[in-house]
């Protein structure tokens, strides 16, 4: 630690102190963390035990959203990524259009359009809306662990589909780059043995490509968690959406959003650390 570091630390500390002073004394803001904390976790009046409240429920929904969207986006990304490298012109055009379309319009705009399509066209056709909200299929705890409150099922699925379709475009490009990074000689050796294109891809190219793309995929997964905040704009009841409600009903804007920011940070930083650890371990194992 040098003198320069100390000076910089001092400056940053002074800046934070100044910001706090402005909020406290100039804005005359009355901090009240306990009101917001009640929205994270609350005491149940009947049983007297602690139960998660809106913000923690929102966090759970965000996690579910991110997990399912990741699964779906990975599947779509693998297929589309392969299509991007396909010999078939139609498949190449479809996948290229998909990627370019999503990468070149703002996510919010895409999600408004797609949400309208999903909720007004797709769900009625496949019958999501007509699932019995009280039926045994959805009222059990396993279902609720994976999909949350059955009353909000179509809301949840719509948000998940939007998010997955949006992120899959980026995964598509990661997969394409991974497939194309594999030496041409690998294709040639495998094709010369008489393997079909599909077998070459499954047995030779993808296993090698996936090792290479795991780090960018992990990064994309974390981006996906952060991007999931966007679906609050179509009223998906995840963390950001519920935070908006908490902030406006309590008027404790700073406390609410600082709490929410901390939750996102812990989530993303936690996953990033896990991925870094796994990556290091894989690197060691490969040696």
């Amino acid at each position: 630690m040098t003198l320069v570091d100390l000076v910089l630390f001092g400056l940053v500390a002074a800046l934070i102190a100044y910001a706090a002073y402005r909020v406290n004394d100039v804005l005359v803001y009355h901090w009240n963390w306990s009101r917001v904390f009640n929205f994270v976790i609350r005491v149940d009046e009947d049983t007297g035990s602690l139960v998660p409240n809106l913000l923690l429920q929102g966090l759970a929904t965000t996690l579910r959203l991110a997990a399912w969207a990741t699964v779906l986006a990975t599947i779509i990304g693998l297929v589309m990524g392969y299509w991007r490298t396909s010999k078939n012109l139609t498949l190449r055009i479809i996948s290229r259009c998909y990627v370019e379309l999503i990468r070149n319009i703002p996510p919010v705009v895409f999600i408004f359009i797609f949400y309208f399509f999903v909720s007004s066209q797709l769900f009625p056709v496949i019958g999501i809306d007509s699932i019995d909200r009280e039926g045994a299929l959805v009222t059990n705890s396993v279902f609720q662990f994976f999909f949350g409150d059955p009353k909000l099922l179509s809301n949840f699925l719509a948000g998940m589909l939007c998010l997955a379709l949006f992120e899959a475009a980026y995964i598509t490009e990661i997969v394409r780059a991974g497939i194309q990074s594999i030496d041409k000689g690998q294709w040639e050796a495998a094709r010369a043995m008489g393997l079909s294109r599909f077998n070459v891809l499954r047995d030779v190219i993808l296993p090698q490509a996936i090792r290479k793309i795991l780090p960018p995929l992990a990064g994309q997964f974390i981006t996906l968690i952060k991007d999931s905040a966007i679906v609050s704009l179509i009223s998906i009841q995840e963390l950001t959406f519920l935070a908006t409600e908490v902030a406006s009903s309590t008027t404790k804007v700073f406390e609410t959003w600082i709490t929410v920011a901390a939750m996102y940070f812990v989530l993303c930083y936690g996953f990033a650390s896990v991925f870094r650890y796994l990556e290091k371990r894989a690197a060691k194992a490969n040696r």
């Binding site: 040639e188 050796a189 010369a192 043995m193 008489g194 393997l195 030779v204 090698q208």
Partner: protein
Amino acid sequence: MTNNADQTTPQSTPIVELVGVCKWYGEFSALYDINLSISNGEKVVICGPSGSGKSTLIRCINQLEVHQAGTITVSGREVKPEMKGIEHIRRDVGMVFQSFNLFPHLTVVDNLTLGPIRNLGMSKDDATKTAMEYLERVQIAEQADKFPVQLSGGQQQRVAIARALCMKPKLMLFDEPTSALDPEMISGVLDVMIELANDGMTMIVVTHEMGFARQVADRVVFMDNGEIVEIADPETFFNNPTTDRAQLFLSQLLSH
């Protein structure tokens, strides 16, 4: 041009036959009017200066490269660009590359069993048994469970040969199999190839190893600028090449 392909082996039906084969990269003519017929059990060495089209020629035989004119027939079936069933023909044609091209994520034995399991419908046990036999033959059985990166270049190339043999091919193509190897590794690979030749395998070998050519080849094909310039038996070719271009090439080869 001396093209006496049919004089040496007039009776037997050819396993590979190229008639008037041409290939262009844009304006550039990589192969021009190639006529060559190779009979069962024959060993042909192809040589010529860099860029003369040797690799392109043998890669057209299993359609890793597509030709644009002429016909190529492999064991009686014509191979065409974008054809269905090219996989079946490729199973009969083993190929060994200059850069080995082993699958780095698979162990040596898994490199060998992949083809037979996927293509020949062999069980894993049978495929492993066959694989071990071939690894024994290329004297590398004790390395079966290692990964390719853990082997020397010479060992990797012998694994690559064994991998091709596991598909029980009728014909083997070699594209400069020893030119990426350190000098002390070369003889081990050549020994394996000589043994294979003695077992009666049909072989088309792109190489500049003159010792190997003299010992094994029935014919030497000399190429330059995408054309076959001269075809002769090895003694004639190395001692009395008829064309100026072959003479020039050989004198350059010897001066190394």
